[in-house]
């Protein structure tokens, strides 16, 4: 339904996809601007940063396409229209995900994939079967980890109601963070996004294996292949949080 409604205004749809591509491309433009002044950032070259960027942006794009509508949840709870979702015979989470489903978000994936493609061609890597295989695994697991963050954020909205923007700090903030090398950030900060909110497994850790860079926090080398496990745990925790949130929901009662 949301796809059809978007397609009704064809010209407007094309413009918004294109605009979305531009908006999401801005942070890469920022990186390009930085590299117009320096040859490396935190010791990483432009192709390597592009590789990180492409992985993070594409994985985030996948999550944004499926669960990016989660931020309308707070509004729905406030105006009471959330209650209608509860009485329909479809899982609430699926309904919320499909709510305001926006195909224009393909712009983000496209832009991320383009940068990733260039990064893959430009990085200086001896490709082995394991490295080649790890790239799609990173994209899928990264997408799943970001999905879990979106769902956990949505669960938090049951508590906070009016604070959808807190979620942005973790979703948009998370993807911005991962677009830069881990060497840029302080040790404690990296520890936080590795062990508390395990975003480092979206790209930093596995990409260190592919690019043969020292692992962040000197993690053991097997952690490069731990992303699927991390993604599974994230999903389980986010699912639990969502169920707890849904149970605690009290309608506005107006």
């Amino acid at each position: 339904m949301w796809i059809r409604s978007a397609m009704t205004y064809r010209a407007s749809f094309v413009v918004t996809v294109f605009g979305n591509l531009l908006v999401t491309g801005l942070d890469f433009v920022a990186i390009l601007l930085m590299f117009s002044q320096v040859d490396s950032l935190g010791g990483w070259s432009l192709p390597e940063v592009a590789f990180l960027y492409g992985l993070s942006a594409t994985a985030f794009g996948i999550a944004d396409l499926t669960f990016g509508s989660m931020d309308v949840l707070g509004g729905r709870m406030r105006d009471g229209s959330f209650d209608t979702l509860l009485v329909r015979p479809v899982p609430v989470l699926a309904q919320v995900a499909a709510d305001h489903f926006a195909v224009r978000r393909l712009g983000r994936i496209t832009q991320g994939a383009l940068v990733l493609g260039w990064g893959l061609l430009a990085v200086d890597v001896d490709w082995t079967a394991a490295k080649v295989l790890l790239v799609p695994v990173m994209l899928v697991c990264g997408g799943v980890i970001f999905c879990a963050v979106f769902v956990a954020g949505a669960a938090f909205q049951f508590l906070a109601q009016d604070a959808a923007e807190v979620q942005n700090a973790f979703t948009y903030g998370g993807t911005t963070l991962l677009q830069y090398p881990p060497t840029v950030f302080g040790k404690d900060f990296v520890r936080g996004v590795t062990f508390v909110l395990p975003l480092a497994f979206v790209n930093w850790v596995p990409a260190s294996y592919v690019l043969e860079r020292p692992y962040p926090l000197d993690l053991p080398s097997w952690t490069a292949f731990a992303s699927p496990l991390v993604a599974a745990v994230c999903c389980a925790l986010a699912g639990l949080a969502w169920r707890a949130g849904l149970r605690s929901y009290r309608s506005t009662g107006s």
């Binding site: 605009g19 930085m34 009016d162 807190v166 060497t183 840029v184």
Partner: protein
């Protein structure tokens, strides 16, 4: 005197309207702080590779980041201030009611936006800035006159920011839908205001161009005045010139636009 009180009341209304959403404000503070921390680290890495990029040292670059986070919502860098409601009213035709009011349309919306900006500054801007000053080395002046000069540039920045968004909103009289304009506001605002990188760190000709565009009046000028990088009078002249030009253009477009309005009876 009477009309002055009217616009004051409108400004107070704008302030109170945004003050209502306390949880949303707290969420915004949190988000701006997180983004500030991420940006600070990347800038520090950048300035590590190239010290004195754009004439700033590391502490000045850090100060610039937190100032940007402080002014992000205040100046509606990405859009989302009074122009959002104005576009909505033009699209739905409610603008006809506004035109009937015994008040000047531009001043009315300006007053509301100034109230909004003041709240966003106090409610959403000050805390991330204070957080930055507490946990990162910043280049803040001890001189009170510089802070006063900084306050004046903020006022002028608010005017320029409003003038740009007002012009953009008026385009809806012809376009009927604000989606594309909003997107354009977002892109130009983030890029040309220097949210992604200080404008004086932009390379070559691109840098020279972005530094004379009106968006430079928003973060770059206040930052340079606060850190003593530019003569306040020069900054005032630059900001005021753009404010006058853009507000005048706004009036011109407004009179052309309102002649198009046809009020349907019924």
């Amino acid at each position: 005197m009477g009309s002055g009180r009217l616009y004051l009341a409108v400004a107070v209304g704008g302030f109170r309207r945004y003050a209502t959403y306390r949880a949303a404000t707290a969420a915004g503070v949190f988000t701006n702080t997180v983004f500030g921390v991420i940006l600070v680290y990347t800038y520090l890495a950048l300035w590590d590779e190239k010290p004195h990029l754009g004439g700033y040292d590391q502490t000045q670059a850090v100060t610039y980041v937190w100032l940007g986070q402080c002014l992000y919502a205040t100046l509606a860098i990405q859009g989302g201030g009074a122009e959002k409601d104005l576009m909505q009213r033009i699209r739905t035709g409610e603008i006809a009611v506004d035109l009937y009011r015994p008040a000047d349309l531009q001043l009315w919306w300006l007053a509301g936006d100034v109230g909004r900006a003041l709240f966003q500054m106090l409610g959403r801007g000050v805390i991330p800035f204070a957080f930055g000053a507490l946990f990162f080395p910043m280049a803040l002046p001890a001189d009170v006159t510089l802070w006063a000069a900084f306050a004046v540039t903020l006022l002028l920045a608010t005017l320029v920011s409003f003038a740009i968004r007002y012009l953009a909103a008026l385009s809806v009289f012809w376009l009927m839908d604000g989606m594309g304009v909003n997107q354009a506001l977002m892109i130009t605002g983030v890029f040309f205001s220097g949210m992604v990188l200080p404008l004086n760190a932009f390379p070559g000709v691109l840098g020279e161009i972005v530094r004379v565009l009106p968006w430079a009046a928003q973060i770059q000028m206040p930052a340079d005045v606060l850190m003593g990088e530019t003569d306040p009078l020069r900054a005032y002249a630059f900001q005021a010139a753009w404010a006058v030009v853009l507000l005048a253009a706004g009036r011109l477009v407004q009179s052309a636009a309102t002649r198009r309005v046809v009020v349907q009876g019924g």
